[in-house]
């Protein structure tokens, strides 16, 4: 593939998935520059790997999974297991809305494995079965993670009922 083809390929995939992957990465990392580093790794992996996908859903699932894994690696490398809310630069990248900001800061504070299930289920509208395929875990593990994630959020967001 020529340099021009790779650039076009990047632009196409960035338009398709860039925004969604940024949102996912932001929920893991909480700041713009770390998100950009992770997305750079994800797209470099895609462009250098010559992956074959069965269909667009398979491709989308690949991008989501690689982004989540890269975020977890990034946190591990930087010696953090989760994001400290003091480090979150939410106003930089967030349209101002106090309630929504409050919700999102609680989601950012969730442990990584619960966060993945919660995001895919509530935001990407994935079914339990689809999440189990994307994350490569059993359906009962997905249900358990959703339940525990919801329990934590319920405690944090007492004004709402999930």
């Amino acid at each position: 593939m020529s340099k021009r083809d790779l650039e076009t390929e990047f632009e196409t995939k960035y338009n398709d998935y860039g925004n969604m992957l940024y949102k996912i990465a932001f929920l893991y990392l909480g700041n713009k520059s770390d998100c950009e580093d992770v997305l750079q790794d994800v797209f470099t992996k895609y462009l250098t790997g010559k992956y074959k996908f069965k269909n667009t859903e398979h491709e989308k699932a690949w991008f989501i999974r690689v982004t989540q894994n890269k975020c977890l690696d990034y946190l591990k490398k930087s010696g953090r297991k989760s994001v400290c809310l003091d480090d979150v630069e939410i106003t930089d990248t967030y349209n101002y809305d106090e309630t929504a900001q409050d919700i999102i800061s609680k989601v950012i504070a969730l442990p990584g494995k619960y966060k993945s299930a919660i995001i895919l289920y509530y935001y990407n509208d994935y079914s339990v079965e689809e999440i189990s395929k994307t994350l490569n875990i059993s359906k009962s593990a997905v249900k358990k993670r959703l339940q525990r994630g919801r329990d934590i959020l319920k405690l944090e967001l007492e004004d709402y009922a999930i």
Binding site: L6, E36, Q40, D97, A100, Y160
Partner: protein, 49 residues
């Protein structure tokens, strides 16, 4: 929390308009591409910042 509230809160997260361009500038499209080859640390050192 209603699902709509949750979705709305995530929808509010947005990359700035130039992120795609910045990423494009960072990714080195001249990397030698081989089948199923993993990106190594030395590849990253060639990434144009």
């Amino acid at each position: 929390m209603r699902k709509d509230d949750f979705k709305k809160s995530i929808d509010n997260i947005n990359p700035d308009a130039y992120m795609g361009n910045r990423l494009k500038a960072k990714i080195n499209f001249n990397l030698p591409i081989k089948n199923n080859r993993r990106v190594t640390k030395s590849d990253r050192s060639h990434v144009v910042l």
